[in-house]
């Protein structure tokens, strides 16, 4: 269960992942409440929030930066997921790419998928000023302050950059002092969107390093050759003590999570978000 207001007793959260503790989740069977709590079942759909499209920008030929302004204030962490609902009811989840902002703004990176009902609509038909409904934020793949010296490794493919870039920004803003290594992968250079921004960030912050990786046939200077996850895994002898974030293709995330763990990272320090693609309906 999850408390929507007061925190559950610490004893009821023992052994739970830190990001879930932070969001006031707890197993009901362990909880002896010490104060009133308004509770919700996990993954229960809470209230829907109205939002307007305020910006559409193409970051690459098939990646759209969609910026929404929402009406009711709510709490979220960059990297969490939000369900976007089209007026006809079609729902898809996307990761939040921006840190909470006083202007009630949310940013998403939407990749155009072949036959993707929602993504095609968002790219081609959704217009500035149009209204969408959005869910509250869900998911445990996000940054938490504390252990600021811990080295961070982040690896992702395609629009998996959205949450990872957000998490890096969040960590830097919150004063993370340990090394932060981001590996972003794509088949071709077009898919490595925001690379100038990443490189600028790497110039500005001494502890941030960005490695764009190309897995296709194109050989280019300034890019690592191979899949982002493989390049990331081979970058360190041991990942003991590292905090790791993985976002992208489900099978890749699953395999890499195991490899990262076998290389020494603690399971509690691995945060993963697999991007499941809904099968096309015709």
């Amino acid at each position: 269960m999850r408390s929507l207001d007061n925190a559950p007793p610490a004893s009821a959260q023992a052994g739970l992942k830190d990001t879930l503790q932070q969001q006031n989740y707890f197993p009901a069977c362990l909880c002896r409440p010490e104060q009133n709590m308004t509770v919700q079942m996990p993954n229960q759909q809470g209230i829907w929030i109205q939002a307007n499209v305020v910006k559409k920008q193409w970051l690459s030929p098939d990646i759209l930066r969609l910026v929404l302004e929402y009406e009711t204030k709510f709490n979220f962490f960059v990297g969490q997921l939000i369900n976007l609902k089209r007026p006809d009811g079609l729902i898809r989840s996307y990761s939040i790419a921006n840190i909470p902002h006083h202007e009630n703004i949310l940013e998403f990176h939407i990749r155009r998928l072949p036959d993707g009902q929602f993504s095609t609509w968002a790219h081609d038909e959704l217009e500035i000023g149009m209204e969408l409904t959005i869910s509250q934020a869900q998911g445990s793949c996000h940054y938490l302050p504390g252990r600021a010296e811990q080295p961070l490794l982040l690896a992702g493919t395609g629009s998996g950059l959205a949450p990872l870039w957000g998490i890096v920004t969040d960590a830097l803003v919150k004063g993370h002092s340990g090394p932060i290594h981001l590996f972003h992968g794509s088949r071709d250079p077009d898919g490595l969107y925001l690379r100038d921004e990443m490189r600028e960030m790497a110039m500005e912050f001494e502890n941030f390093r960005y490695t764009p990786c190309l897995s296709g046939d194109t050989a280019a200077a300034d890019y690592a050759r191979g899949r982002a996850y493989e390049v990331a895994l081979s970058s360190a002898q041991s990942l003991k003590g590292w905090r790791v974030y993985l976002c992208g293709h489900p099978e890749m995330v699953k395999q890499t999570r195991k490899m990262v763990y076998l290389k020494g990272a603690s399971m509690n320090d691995i945060y993963a978000d697999a991007f499941h693609v809904n099968p096309a309906e015709k």
Binding site: A14, G15, R257, Y261, L262, M267, N268
Partner: protein, 130 residues
């Protein structure tokens, strides 16, 4: 992690080892050893890591003398399909070896390791469905 000098007589094995935090520390090391052990890792190929880790936590809590609801039935059911894959004493021995190595890595005193091993050993017949 290790037992303190002034352990009292009524302190349980679970307390002496370090309780829930000790289980938390041990499960990470133990599960990694199991996955890397070529003798047994094929039995873990297709398992979900979170589910498996939760099960190993329950097992280690029991083996450390902690609170548990162990009846043996779950252990039998969970391993039934592995018996068909050839699970036998040699694999159980390998797990016991990994358990011992985990506790040594955490500097648990030998006499406590022996107590844990005895409890873990008591599940052998359930695991192997005998």
């Amino acid at each position: 992690m290790s037992a303190t000098q002034d352990t009292t007589l009524n302190e349980t094995l679970f307390d002496k080892i370090g309780g829930a935090p000790a289980v938390e520390a041990a499960v990470d090391i133990f599960y990694r050893k199991v996955l890397m052990d070529y003798r047994i890792n094929r039995f873990f190929e297709n398992t979900d890591m979170d589910t498996q880790r939760a099960k190993q936590k329950a097992f280690l809590t029991m083996a450390f003398g902690g609170p548990n609801n162990y009846t043996g039935t779950d252990m039998r059911n969970a391993h039934a399909r592995f018996i068909k894959m050839g699970l036998d004493d040699s694999h159980f021995d390998a797990v016991m070896e990994n358990l011992g190595a985990t506790l040594e890595e955490l500097d648990v005193p030998q006499e406590l390791i022996a107590e844990v091993a005895a409890i873990a050993e008591s599940t052998r017949n359930d695991v192997l469905n005998r």
